[in-house]
Amino acid sequence: MKRLLCLCIGLLLMSTLPWLTAARNDAPSPERLGYKPSFEVTYFSSLEYRYLLSELLFYDATFYYGTILEKPGLRPDYIMIGRYIDYATRLNAFNIDAYYLGQAILVWEAGLVKDMNLMLERGAKRRDWDFYLPFFLGFNHAYFLNDPKGAAEYMSQAAKLNPRATFLPTYVGRLYYEADKTKQAIQYLKVVYEGTFDQKLRKSILVRIATLESIQFLEGAVRKFEQKTGRRPAELDELVSAGILKGIPPDPYGGHFFYDRSDGRIKTSSKMALQGAKNDRH
């Protein structure tokens, strides 16, 4: 009888598990990604499992980011994600997943382009057969750092590593002569999409491509407006009232498109990040 009673008490206490999980889930986000030891401690204590640890750090950062995206109102801790990616790529400089994640999040959403470039350069030295890393570097230099010369060098490296990517040589040329950054970004994202297995990431890339295609469409409409009226529009609604467009397409990220007269570019209030990260170029 006593044993049965103890068993019941035990089972009763164990039934708190769903509440425990819910409480942990509601905890402030920085605590969910709380790996703090220095890199040296991590490296020395990883024994023969540093490649596995590198994968686990990448997974931890991916799950954390995925969880944050599902919670409206929370902004990912980009500095911590950057730290995880830095550790993951230092523990295993071949870990392409970590570079992919960093390129997708740190560069586009957090604006940590130079930090990510340092990691990519480290990886490009080790993964000397992989065209993706010089391709990422080339794109970052062209699109984010306005450095077409540096970009062309990396793109040439990428083209040598992947001769089957026939668009790369022309891409290099366009970096010099073409100012259409939206087109560059769409082409870049299509390449990344092709090389990605992860369904969530593929979906998010498609959303970004759709947004950029809307921007490209609006940029074309603005050019038509300029040809027609000889002036720049004050706002996008003028394109509708001038009969060039039937309506303004919605921003897949939930924001709205607007025309920035200062640089003549179409931008979006969402900054192409679900949480509206501050440092994104758009």
Binding site: S45, E48, Y59, F197
Partner: protein
């Protein structure tokens, strides 16, 4: 083997009958089967992530095997008093010790081979579904397995030495775990203390301690060829040869020391 090395054969059979080996084998096989799940979270390199996981599992399995099966070989004989009949046999104590080691080595090779084959099949399956950037280098897999086994044999030699002087099973096991951790760290720490950054942060006394540990404890890092397998990187034959020679040398030294200690040991 049974006629030429009866103690080694008995050790191998005893190890095969050990329920711990069976349990560990089943758990490891099941974990290897979870490779696709682990790899599926990868964004770009599913086969690479799965391989990393699979190889780490095989290595962890081997280390647990050395510590829990190897750690009880001699202490169990002492505790069950079968050592008394063993030392009265017309074989020297050194031969008894060496045959125990041989039996353990045989058991390790068999277990690693069995798990290695299952792991290989799982890797092949993963690579066929998610082709990696570079085709898997199957030769590198053999290199990885061979040197992982050599690492386990070095660790087993350390364990036999510690068991030959210790009075309980627990102490050699704990010390072997410590040697395993130190053995995989000394090379990294030595290179760090000799670097410009390490010279600034590390005291000269600690530097001496690190260098002593580097030479006394086995350096297990050179036996790790996982990265060459995961990313199909070329393997340097010079490194393989040196690692092979170093491992054999360390095993010989440990077994000789164990023989000295065991020959002088009083079991009464």
């Amino acid at each position: 083997m049974q006629q030429r090395f009866p103690i080694a054969a008995a050790t191998f059979k005893g190890g095969m009958r050990d329920k711990f080996l069976l349990g560990l084998g089943i758990v490891s096989m099941l974990l290897v089967c979870t490779m696709p799940v682990f790899g599926s979270f990868s964004m770009r390199d599913v086969a690479g992530a799965a391989t990393t996981y699979g190889l780490s599992l095989v290595s962890a399995f081997g280390v647990l095997l050395v510590i829990f099966i190897g750690g009880t070989l001699i202490p169990r004989d002492i505790q069950s008093r079968t050592i008394y009949s063993a030392v009265t046999l017309p074989v020297s104590r050194t031969r008894y010790l060496l045959e125990k080691y041989l039996g353990l080595a045989h058991l390790l090779a068999f277990s690693m081979g069995a798990l290695g084959v299952v792991n290989l099949a799982a890797l092949g399956l993963m690579a066929s579904y998610y082709p990696p950037d570079k085709p898997l280098a199957w030769g590198n897999y053999l290199v990885y397995l061979f040197f992982d086994l050599e690492k386990l044999l070095v660790l087993a030699a350390v364990l036999i030495f510690l068991a030959s002087i210790a009075t309980s099973a627990f102490l050699p096991q704990v010390l072997t775990v410590a040697v395993y951790a130190i053995g995989l760290t000394t090379e990294k720490v030595k290179l760090y203390v000799e670097s410009a950054e390490g010279a600034k942060n590390i005291s000269p006394a600690l530097k001496v301690v690190v260098q002593w540990l580097y030479y006394i404890c086995p350096n297990l890092s050179p036996f790790d060829f996982k990265v060459q397998m995961i990313y199909a990187l070329p393997v340097d034959p010079k490194i393989m040869l040196l690692a092979l020679l170093y491992g054999i040398g360390y095993i010989v030294v440990m077994l000789v020391l164990a023989s000295f200690a065991f020959s002088r040991r009083d079991f009464v």
